[in-house]
Symmetry: D2
Subunit: 440 residues, 4 copies
């Protein structure tokens, strides 16, 4: 072990404190200006080389980039928080996120770790039993919330970065830490992959807090059953009319969207495995007495395999067309994000077990957990594997106050401690060459 | 005739110019801060006594008052237009509108005239063939538009006010000019009635531009078939869940609202006469991958009689309840506005014919036109009639570029000229006592 | 008056008794074998010349002819009632109904009267308060019922026939009595018109019992607002699949029909006037665990004018297409019946008033009643008027135990008495030339 | 081996011929009069003791028994086929099926085998490429078809019976052969279980032709993932009204059923595993112009576990209630059939392998195949296992002309041959004591 238990504890304490800090300023995908700046501030005095903006990601391979006004409003908010304008200029157009690289100069593996940094458009609970409220670290951003644990992921990533920086002399090879924007909706990962950060990675690791509701300290070494998923924005355009004087003259876009929503949720189940569909939002119409000439929905499909997701998408296409026809409107579909299916390398099961058999923060190690959800980390896993690397996505279990994406979502911060020490032990196991050499 | 043709022409020219001015700064119901201030500015140097704020209307009898933030944002906008803060203080809480009273001091009838001043939440057309765009007086307020001719109504009311002011010495009795906020949705009229402005009115007149697509100059002396109407805001509250991980854990408020929308539009027609229903807006959910826990719709019902509107409302109640149950959500209904049925006094048919038989701006006079729409002027008509007065609502026909409430709505401004001279001739006929006396 | 009150009373008593007889053996459109035979039996010994089968109607101008098996089953039932096979051969293919002609040989008007003879596919009430049940003349045919009063219409037509036969020597001109099959659904009238029976009619009269819920004895001389109507049979063809093993492989015709039904009922109301739509029946699928590959609906549209009915039909076409597309099925539409709009001649108002001013069975005569329903008599009215004749459709009011087409429908038989004497008085007034001549 | 290859071949030939015979006279659940009589005729001269009627099953534990008229009509049809009335009296009330018992008198295991005998309400394809049509053994019953292979199951059961009869002297223990009615919909198995036939069974075997699309000769020794399932008949009762005159007076049961159908198919997928829902049939209304006062649907739910099926049923209950409320109707639910989840005993995997390692009709043996469908054999499996016996359900794979429950369903008859020899080899392996003794 390159570092005493004591110093890891300090990093763990730091991580919990940082998590609470990030929890208060959640930012949704491609508007993580404050978040990126905080990460930058913490890492800028380390030996890591930091990359920002279009060095991090390929702007045209991003999905579901928000409207310019939304990006602009978030940028203004960041300015009001004291983020310098010249820093924000680097992130122009919502090219948020950061990549930190440290090369030990010694031969050894290239290890990459990915932490996702975005939040969700959810109004956080003010309930007395909601710990962030009770203990004063609730989101100060209306309708934005870290309701999926990415605040913890950032903090863990930073703790690991500090560890590598502090122990670089005793490690081998190269480290690439990716702080990825816009995981929600599967919008950011591919744009990072396209910049080549993962082209020659030997060991790729990422992970998630929560998901598995078990005692903190329970770790799953790998994950299976990532759902392939596609996010779409659909708009229906009809014709407005005075609903009292001439209801027959309208072409009702609100009803087209309503028909679509009901019928989309009734797509038949598939014999080959799990599928999902969700119309998550609808915004339609202008007033009580106007036949709605416009409606927009945000929706997604998922499938246990890429083929199942394709099945869902082909049903969606027909249903959207039929719903528009049903009410005499037009419609338009915008592709907003995607995640593919993938599988972790089972060699990571052995690796995690060996690296952590003596880790006091680990209660139990499982080989594999089914996710039944989507994660754009699959683009990274797939890319690494295609080029011969080994990839995993670990689950750091925790009891949950409420499920992921719920206004009262919260997890046991002990899971952060577990994650920090697991990542560090993995690194030591794989790249802790220097000390091992001298020790042996 | 108390005033020469020439001076009426000047008032008509003024009215057309003012209409274009008001067209550029549309404000929706109970946010008419700029509009009220403009009216005030024009009338403040006349002999009219002006009333504002809670002198105009009873705040608690308003329906569908917007959220405080919306009122506040509109007020701020008014400030940026140069409307003084102390003036805006008088309209605190969105108590917009103005009542102007002039007493000639001579015995005679009490004549009241009502002009409605609010706009609609519609994005005005930028089309080259849309005259307000082509001629540079399109709305400068995004998503607000005078798409129902109320800009013209304000201008007509002001022209009539000027006329009364200029010719007061030759008129008898008393004049009450009501610039009513929030007609759309039937939200403002009752609050004005409750302040007593119409308690002792002998002759009440109001009217509408357009509606009847015929040559400008065609006037209907009275209106029938006002549709009774009710506006409701309905919210559905379900339970959010991650749509990939645990779709079964959600309670889908978006689908509840969608089911409600479809089924509301399928309420059976009624043997007794015309009915209407419209779900005009829907806003639901928070993101692609979250089961929507909240949805809001704005809707309305109408009926050719109050009983038919009641029939619709009772169907609505059951359908909302069923839609919530269908998806396991709660729901809440907020009453947002209403208009009752009413009938004009047929004596006004004779009166308008006699007063305007020689009016050169009038091409044809019809006795009565069916409206098949709702107007909260019915509260005023009903109130005046119950206390022995005579009430009418005239229609000033015009060819229309596009129907009422359409983004490309526009009318022939000649209809404004017709309306100005018809109102003035009516006034002279009823209250032109002084001159008549001396003339005869 | 050609006949004493006494003898009319006998005809009235006969009519009531016959109505009860016909009530027991209701037959739906184009299966009126027993009914036609009973009419034939009663008239065969009069001076009327009787016409049957393809002499009565043009088979190819019938709408909604039932499947051969249904016709065959009804024919077999008729045989079991003792209707001779050679008689039934004349009605081969469901060419039911009868036309009876009597020429007085004296110059005079050609008067035509139409009685519709079909029943509805409704299971008659067995309730103790349902008079036909209580008094023992309930339908003996399962799922068939005279729930619209046509049993009375037949009886009235026969009473009028007997009257003409008995008093032929005192009447002038010619009489054509049409016992028309398949009025329900608008399926039979046009086929009779096409045979030329109404080509040279001077006075055409028909009528309906009930409709207007008022004291029996109240007569409306004419009717307005016949709704134009179209009946359609629509079938959806999808693909069956095992709903457990491979739900995704099906194409659900049942859901296509269900989507169509809901959306058809939500066709927007029209500003120009009353419209109607009804999906009256659905039959779909084969078993619990088979995705339904077939569905059929019977539906109709109506409009206050032919144009409004056309509006409905064009909406229907689009919605059917969209519903099929929504579920990936095909669909097919079969035209099953129609009624056009029409207007009675107001001259009949005077005529009925004059003929019946002293009729003791008449309590009150109205000029006109709005029908707000469809009747294929409009084909006859339209045809007669186009060739210069005068046509009416009278309403013989009655209190109703339950509405038309209800399992407990029943009317006051006094309305039959009124109808008999009104028709006879009309005939006497128009064609009672002989006696009038000699009397005067 | 107790019997030479040659004699098994004869039994196999017989089975194929019998399958074609049974294929022509398919009968749906609890109307298998002809079928039961044919089975009886074939077995009555063997040493089996035959049981019929209420000896076979407990009438009150049957689910989804058809209406008396349907049973009566099927019985009449059987009479017309020459089935004696006194035989049919034994099956009074649709208590169809047969149990055949043979006791060798020698100590040994009690082996039970179950063959299901009912058909589906499907109109068989007349296509030239459909072998039963092409080769002249298509169903002669309109709308009934052996579209699930039960014709083969009967024939296999009979071949096994003949084998046991012929070789009884060389076998040990006792044999119970169950020819079970009404498997489709899960309606018959429990009623047989309740009569105690399986109370002391040591080895239970049943199986299915097809399911697995692979070369005939491929056998799965056991089956997993039986879907728990429930069949329901739901009726909605509203109020009829004339759809033209008074649409508002109706309570539309057809629309209630349509709303229910759409929303049932949109029940959210469940995180825990596969679920299914199907509304398989709808019958509603009486005519084009009558608001439908009655509608009936046949529906089912399924779940990978009993808990998942319960989840579906609780959603169903709420949706039915909401759909009735939506249209102001009542509704009633009738429980029509069910199948529980179950698991085969893995010991059968060894047993089938050992018994058939040299079986020339077997190409490949799989241990287990997932079914993803429902089978009421689960009641039998569950019962046998609870009392200490071992149970299996084998799959005899076949290429399929079209899927199960499809009008063109057909399988390779070689699978029948395989099944016959596998069952016989299993029996010899388990109970072939006599010969083995003497042989060894």
């Amino acid at each position: 072990m390159v570092t005493g238990l004591k110093s890891i504890e300090v990093l763990q304490d730091d991580a919990v404190a940082l998590r609470r800090k990030f929890h208060q300023t959640p930012e949704t995908g491609f508007t993580e200006f404050i978040t990126t700046y905080e990460i930058y501030t913490i890492l800028k005095d380390t030996d890591f080389k930091l990359h920002l903006g279009t060095e991090v990601l390929s702007p045209n391979h991003r999905y579901g980039v928000p409207d310019e006004e939304i990006i602009e409003a978030s940028r203004k908010r960041a300015v009001s928080y004291g983020v310098p304008d010249d820093f924000l200029d680097l992130l122009e157009g919502g090219n948020t996120g950061l990549v930190a690289v440290l090369d030990t100069g010694r031969p050894g593996p290239h290890i990459a770790m990915r932490s996702d940094i975005d939040a969700l458009p959810i109004l956080e609970s003010e309930g007395a039993s909601h710990k962030p409220s009770a203990e004063g670290f609730r989101s100060v951003h209306e309708n934005e919330m870290h309701a999926c644990g990415h605040d913890g992921h950032i903090a863990i990533g930073l703790a690991v970065a500090k560890y590598i920086h502090q122990n670089a002399s005793q490690l081998t090879g190269r480290f690439t830490l990716i702080f990825q924007p816009a995981e929600e909706g599967g919008r950011g990962a591919r744009s990072v992959v396209e910049k080549g950060w993962l082209d020659d990675v030997d060991y790729f690791m990422s992970g998630h807090l929560g998901i598995h509701e078990a005692t903190a300290g329970t770790v799953s070494a790998t994950t299976e059953r990532f759902l392939a998923s596609t996010k779409l924005d659909v708009s229906f355009n009809g014709k407005s009319a005075h609903s009292g004087v001439e209801p027959n003259a309208g072409r009702n876009a609100l009803l087209a969207a309503a028909s679509a929503s009901l019928h989309l949720h009734a797509i038949p189940r598939h014999r080959e495995g799990a599928t999902r569909v969700n119309v998550g939002t609808m915004n339609a119409g202008s007033g009580w007495n106007v036949v709605a000439d416009h409606a927009e929905i945000k929706m997604e499909t998922r499938g246990e395999t890429n083929a199942l997701n394709e099945y869902m998408l082909s049903e969606v296409e027909r249903i959207l067309q039929a719903s528009a026809l049903m009410h005499g409107t037009d419609y338009e579909t915008k592709f907003m994000g995607t995640a593919i299916g993938a599988a972790c390398d089972s060699k990571w099961q052995t690796l995690v077990r060996e690296a952590n058999h003596a880790n006091p923060d680990v209660v139990m190690i499982r080989d594999v957990l089914p996710l039944d959800a989507s994660e754009d980390v699959t683009y990274m896993i797939d890319h690494v594997q295609k080029r011969g690397g080994l990839a995993t996505f670990m689950i750091f279990a925790s009891p949950l106050a409420a499920g992921h994406h719920h206004p009262a979502f919260d997890f046991d911060e002990a899971a952060i401690r577990t994650a920090v020490s697991v990542y560090i032990n993995n690194i030591n196991h794989i790249a802790g060459g220097v000390l091992h050499e001298s020790d042996d």
